[in-house]
């Protein structure tokens, strides 16, 4: 039995008040709140075994090293990677994707080659490829949005794959539309056309079971902070066969086995890609977040989000002059509802929501191409839900919307 009230007790921040109202946190697609289990995991590290990893010859350094490696083991298992050799820690999803573009991308893309992304990518899965294409005088192609603007157009994907892109990089779940791509199918089609595949998993890692072996993708990028871990640590999954054939981006401590004046021997996977002191507390916090998700059950989290999306959709659909983006198929959505109210700018909406203690996001959501496609204001409002949100909170949002419409004299 999913007990949302019991889950809420794990999150101290949900008890605070904003502008005299109980905080309603609906900006989970930006970052998730942290449960005590994660907060305490990091606190325990600081208070009991804070030390640098890998080479300390003393007890607490051994503990820290073991916990760091355990974090990788947990994450590898969480997404069903082959081993920790395929798990590289970065700062965030953005850095993971940039890393692929700067290493693998630089190596394989040549003048005249094609790179394929979609019109609905976050800037983090657009700019690294745009710049790579410019550096190499290659072509950047886009999979179009479907006619309903709820997701990607599969025919457009097929047409673009005929150009034989060397790299295909797409989102798993859209941070604007909330819609989920069939990445297993996309990967299969892309592989048939000899394209390697990168999946931007920033919005799916918090709430969907990920199995990289089943998906078959070559790269999968994600951030810990969206799954209740700390900010500043991201994850790149990359197939071992690929990692073995690319060079590290940064030189420094721990990434080499031996160094002399004019040469060096690289360390094993994945350590050769992690130079310098790593975000140790980040890795430990991530491990606590994985434990926490596993305790609740990722499928339960997904189901809860889908229930909230359906509830919100039903409630919002009856409001006049309000438009919802991304379609209403909650089975094919993560907990994201983007919307616009006729004649009221999203920033005014977000500001007035805050007066009711409700945190939502407004703007271009770092995905300007798709948001410009959806809105002539180039800006939309977004509510995003997670495991601790409730239908009562959605009711509060509906009340806020009605108040705002009154203020602006909108029917």
């Amino acid at each position: 039995m999913y007990d949302v009230n019991k889950i809420r007790e794990d999150f101290p921040i949900l008890k605070i008040k904003v502008n005299g109202k109980k905080l309603v946190y609906f900006d989970n697609a930006a970052t998730a709140q942290k449960p005590l289990q994660v907060i305490n995991g990091i606190k325990y590290y600081y208070e009991n075994y804070n030390s640098n990893i890998h080479r300390g010859m003393y007890k607490i350094a051994e503990d820290a090293t073991a916990r760091y490696i355990e974090s990788k083991t947990k994450f590898a298992k969480f997404i069903n990677a082959g081993s920790i050799e395929e798990i590289v820690y970065t700062r965030n999803t953005t850095e993971a994707i940039n890393f692929v573009a700067l290493t693998y991308g630089n190596k394989v893309i040549q003048k005249g080659d094609h790179i394929l992304i979609s019109e609905a990518e976050h800037h983090s899965n657009l700019l690294p490829w745009l710049w790579l294409a410019k550096r190499k005088k290659a072509h950047l192609d886009y999979i179009k949005l479907n006619k309903e603007k709820t997701g990607l157009d599969i025919e457009s994907l097929k047409t673009q794959l005929e150009k034989k892109p060397k790299i295909t990089a797409v989102f798993h779940a859209s941070n604007v539309l909330g819609s989920v791509n069939d990445i297993k199918y996309i990967t299969r089609l892309a592989h048939k056309n000899n394209s390697t595949v990168l999946i931007d998993g920033a919005q799916s890692i918090p709430n969907m079971k990920i199995d990289v072996k089943d998906i078959g993708c070559d790269f999968f990028a994600a951030s810990a902070h969206k799954m209740m871990g700390p900010a500043g640590i991201g994850i790149l999954f990359a197939k071992k066969s690929i990692l073995n054939n690319i060079n590290p981006l940064f030189g420094g401590g721990e990434m080499v086995k031996q160094v002399n004046k004019y040469s060096c021997t690289l360390n094993d996977l994945p350590w050769r890609f992690e130079s310098g002191t790593q975000n140790i507390e980040g890795a430990i916090g991530l491990a606590s977040a994985i434990d926490y998700i596993n305790k609740i059950g990722i499928d339960n989290i997904k189901k809860h989000e889908q229930n909230l999306v359906k509830y919100a959709f039903d409630e919002l659909s009856s409001i006049k002059n309000l438009e919802i983006f991304g379609g209403n198929n909650e089975k094919n959505k993560v907990g994201i509802i983007s919307f616009a109210i006729n004649k009221i700018h999203p920033h005014d909406i977000a500001y007035l929501f805050d007066k009711e203690g409700i945190a939502i996001r407004a703007g271009h959501h770092c995905a300007m191409p798709v948001v410009s496609e959806l809105s002539k204001e180039h800006s939309i409002s977004r509510m995003s839900f997670y495991l601790y949100n409730t239908t009562q909170e959605i009711d509060a949002a509906v009340n806020a919307i009605n108040k705002i419409k009154n203020k602006f004299n909108i029917q």
Binding site: H345, H347, G363, H364, K407, F408, N409
Partner: protein, 126 residues
Amino acid sequence: MPYDIYAEKIILNYEHPHNKGVLKDADTRFKEYNQVCGDEIEVYIKINNKKIKDIKFIGRGCAISMASASMITDFIKGKSIKEIEEYNVDTVKNILGMDPGPVRMKCATLSLRAIKEAVEKYKLEK
């Protein structure tokens, strides 16, 4: 200063902005952006004898930025270049009759920033 930044006056100026449009024979113009929101505004200014003879604006953005553009462009007509150079956040607060607070101040001052830049450009070109 009142707390409600969405006073009736602001909403009215947002719904029915004054001085909206372009001036084809403008002496100077400038486009300014608010990167936080993606708001943008372009002002067109006609200057005569170092004074603002006419001003119009086009743009898109939130109620605060658009209403303040409407009210600031009203206010600015007939003012001298020297006066405009001295206007600041407090001027905007007085024109709007409210304090938008630190976050929304960027929205409220967007048009004034554009006007100042346009005037600066005019001076450099003269």
